[in-house]
Amino acid sequence: MKTKRTGTILCLVGNILNIIGFIIFILYFKTLGSGISVNTEMIVDGLIIVIDSAIMIALSILFLKGKINKDLMKLYSISMLLLSITLFAVLCILFLSSVLCCYMIYIVFPIISLVGSIMILAGKEKNEVKETKKDN
């Protein structure tokens, strides 16, 4: 359960940083004039990233508050992993498409989230292993 909790905290931190990072990122391009204009792709992908991150934050808070039913734990773990992968993939597509490589540092936050979600899934597996050992 500890690994699961640590993973959830990592996901929470990663996604909060993700949202803050993306808002700063868009504001930087839009107002300070970095030589790249904000195009439709950046705005829509940004919205996707913010919405996915918000869902993951909501799920993490629900888990930390103990509001997720034990029967829904597996679904929770899989959802976090799938959403993390989606977030990472969308960001990779965005960077491949238009944004300069020097802003690749921004990809660190989804990686934190991805590591967190893997820990959530791993935590589940460890618990299951412990339970089977006890049964034996």
């Binding site: 439709t40 829904l72 679904l75 993939a89 969308v90």
Partner: protein, 150 residues
């Protein structure tokens, strides 16, 4: 109740992931309105260029309201020499139509009647005005190059 929650959860998850991936890939592959204008221009421009694969757009700024477009591009000519241009183009009906001249060069353009007042100084004046206008949209050259190659 739990089964219902599970079902709603799974369906929502699938929808969110499908929309995220779908939109992202669609936007990656589809040019927007301004990019379409520039791609049409580039396809026309490339007809006169021997080595089409050397044609690269470096910078493009479009101001639809004022009807001007500033494009920086380079290509290899028939002798294999690299030609670099930064030109001002006049737009008509959402299309880039008339080349008004090169901002860096001294080449005198063979302009049609009605465009004769576009002297070198006038072009530089227009370019500065366009660059500083808030309604000017500068296009992403990475995206343009990728979309052009398709």
């Amino acid at each position: 109740m739990l089964k219902r929650i599970k079902r709603i959860w799974i369906v929502s998850l699938i929808i969110i992931i499908a929309i995220s991936f779908g939109l992202s890939i669609y936007l990656y592959n589809t040019p927007d309105e301004n990019e379409k204008i520039l791609i049409n221009w580039a396809n026309e421009r490339m007809k006169d260029i021997t080595y089409k694969n050397t044609f690269k757009i470096q910078e493009a700024e479009i101001n639809k309201e004022k009807g001007y477009c500033i494009i920086s591009y380079h290509y290899d000519d028939e002798q294999g020499e690299n030609q670099s241009c930064r030109e001002v183009w006049k737009m008509e009906d959402n299309e880039i139509k008339t080349n008004l001249g090169d901002l860096g060069g001294t080449k005198v353009m063979d302009l049609p009647i009605g465009y004769l007042n576009y002297t070198s100084d006038k072009l530089k004046e227009i370019a500065t005005e366009i660059e500083n206008d808030s309604k000017t949209v500068s296009l992403d050259s990475n995206r343009l190059t990728r979309l052009l190659e398709k």
